[in-house]
């Protein structure tokens, strides 16, 4: 096994395959969390009637406040709140391609392709700024 920080390791096609696997594992992990949370969610809301009917634009709309941010989802998740667990699975799914971009930055850095390190970091910065600034 080649050393993970060596140039040979990142220079070969292998690295792309590792990234491909990472994506697949991310999706599988997210799926597992979502199914687990979903079963709890169904149990906790057993027999309830669904209503997702349209709400006119401009009126208050959306899921419960606590399902909108990681720092409120996480504590509820530990209390086995089904909806929070599903939402956490969705967060893992959203994080998967973002982590993939971060890996690419690293792989360009090892290749000493600094132009693409910068380009990749710009993409990451747009996503992270979007996440941190939020639009509340």
């Amino acid at each position: 096994m080649k050393h993970i920080f060596s140039r040979e390791f990142w220079g070969e096609r292998d690295v792309e395959q590792y990234i491909g696997k990472l994506l697949r594992y991310g999706v599988m992990l997210s799926c597992a969390i979502t199914i687990f949370g979903g079963i709890i969610y169904l149990y906790q809301h057993k027999g309830i009637m669904v209503d997702y009917s349209p709400v006119p634009t401009g009126m208050s709309f959306g899921v419960d406040e606590y399902l909108r941010e990681l720092n409120t989802i996480f504590p509820r998740m530990l209390h086995f709140d089904g909806a929070a667990i599903v939402q956490f699975g969705v967060l893992v799914l959203i994080a998967t391609p973002i982590i993939r971009v971060a890996f690419s930055a690293f792989s360009f850095l090892i290749e000493k392709d600094y132009l693409y390190v910068v380009i990749t970091l710009i993409v990451l910065a747009i996503i992270l700024a979007n996440m941190l600034l939020g639009l509340h």
Binding site: Y41, G47, G62, L67
Partner: protein
């Protein structure tokens, strides 16, 4: 989000009369096919089956899961457009990331083109998601309808590579090291990227649309890469798939913070579409997709028309 079903209403004549008026109004509309009088378990189960079918068809026809999920939720289940878009975004991420592993193995994704154009698509995706929050739903339905029609037409039109190896490469493409090669049975094919600026602008538009509509807008991404940048079809398709996940993640963050991603919808949709797409990809080499694509494009076309109609009559 929910209302507790009141079985007592059957025993209460006054209330029953009141409600019969609204029921009559609903029965006149063709869409949605299912509504209200369903328990969560049944709703989740039917939605799960629908999502499997959507993922299956989306992967067989190459349209992607997101395009199918929105009509399924809005027209089929009478779900608010914004929840449908949130669910479609999550679906796009799942199906793109799931497929990426297979594409990368073939070694034709151009990561540099993808990464460079992602600056455009993520910027666009953020703009699109912000517009979606303020724009009236009927305009979103209209735009979605138009994109659906465009995607349907793109699915059935013949795709040909018009690569001219002697054409001088774009200076910007050379500076950005976008030119590449890919392996074929006849040997390695080199390609040079053209019109980088035009491709970049089209990609920004594709990003805006995916932020606005929750779809991968793969058709538009491929168009930008094929027609403007003259990238071979094999490379553009896989590179577009690579980009869909990142673009969708950028706008999904905004949808999540606005509360448009509902766990009760996300669970059956994501799992169902992934399962369906898996079956679809297993079956893909064995079936003649040409007729299926044509049939599906016609269906999509009619779905598009009814999306526009229902959007403007305020039913979505």
């Amino acid at each position: 989000m929910f209302y507790q079903h009141n079985y007592l209403r059957l025993l209460c004549p006054v209330k029953a009369i009141k409600e019969s008026a609204s029921l009559e109004r609903k029965s006149k509309t063709e869409f949605p096919l299912f509504r209200y009088d369903m328990s969560l378990e049944l709703f989740t189960f039917i939605l799960f089956l629908g999502a499997i079918a959507a993922g299956f068809l989306g992967s067989l026809t190459g349209l992607g899961g997101g395009v199918v999920v929105i009509p399924l939720l809005t027209l089929g289940f009478g779900v608010d457009m914004r929840y449908a878009i949130g669910a479609a975004l999550v679906t796009s991420i799942a199906s793109s990331s799931g497929a990426a592993a297979a594409y990368i193995k073939e070694g034709i994704t151009n990561v540099r083109i993808g990464m460079f154009l992602e600056i455009a698509t993520t910027t666009g995706a953020v703009i699109g998601a912000v517009i979606a929050i303020w724009l009236d739903k009927k305009y979103i339905a209209l735009i979605f309808g138009c994109v659906l029609i465009f995607s349907a037409i793109r699915t059935i039109t013949k795709k040909e590579d018009k690569i001219d190896p002697s054409a001088p490469a774009d200076k910007l493409a050379e500076k950005l090291k976008l030119n590449g090669s890919y392996p074929t049975k006849e040997g390695v094919v080199n390609y040079k990227v053209q019109n980088v600026a035009a491709g970049y602008s089209l990609m920004t538009l594709a990003g805006v649309l995916s932020g606005l509509l929750g779809i991968g807008s793969g058709a538009l991404k491929v168009l930008a890469m094929d027609t403007a940048m003259k990238i071979p079809f094999k490379v553009s398709t896989t590179t577009s798939n690579f980009m869909v996940g990142v673009t969708a993640a950028a706008s999904a963050v905004i949808y999540l913070q606005r509360g448009y991603i509902d766990p009760g919808l996300a669970m059956p949709i994501v799992v169902g579409v992934l399962l369906g797409a898996f079956f679809g990809s297993k079956l893909l080499p064995k079936v003649n997709v040409k007729k299926l694509r044509l049939l599906f494009s016609v269906v999509i076309f009619f779905l598009a028309i009814s999306m526009i109609y229902n959007g403007f009559t305020g039913k979505l």
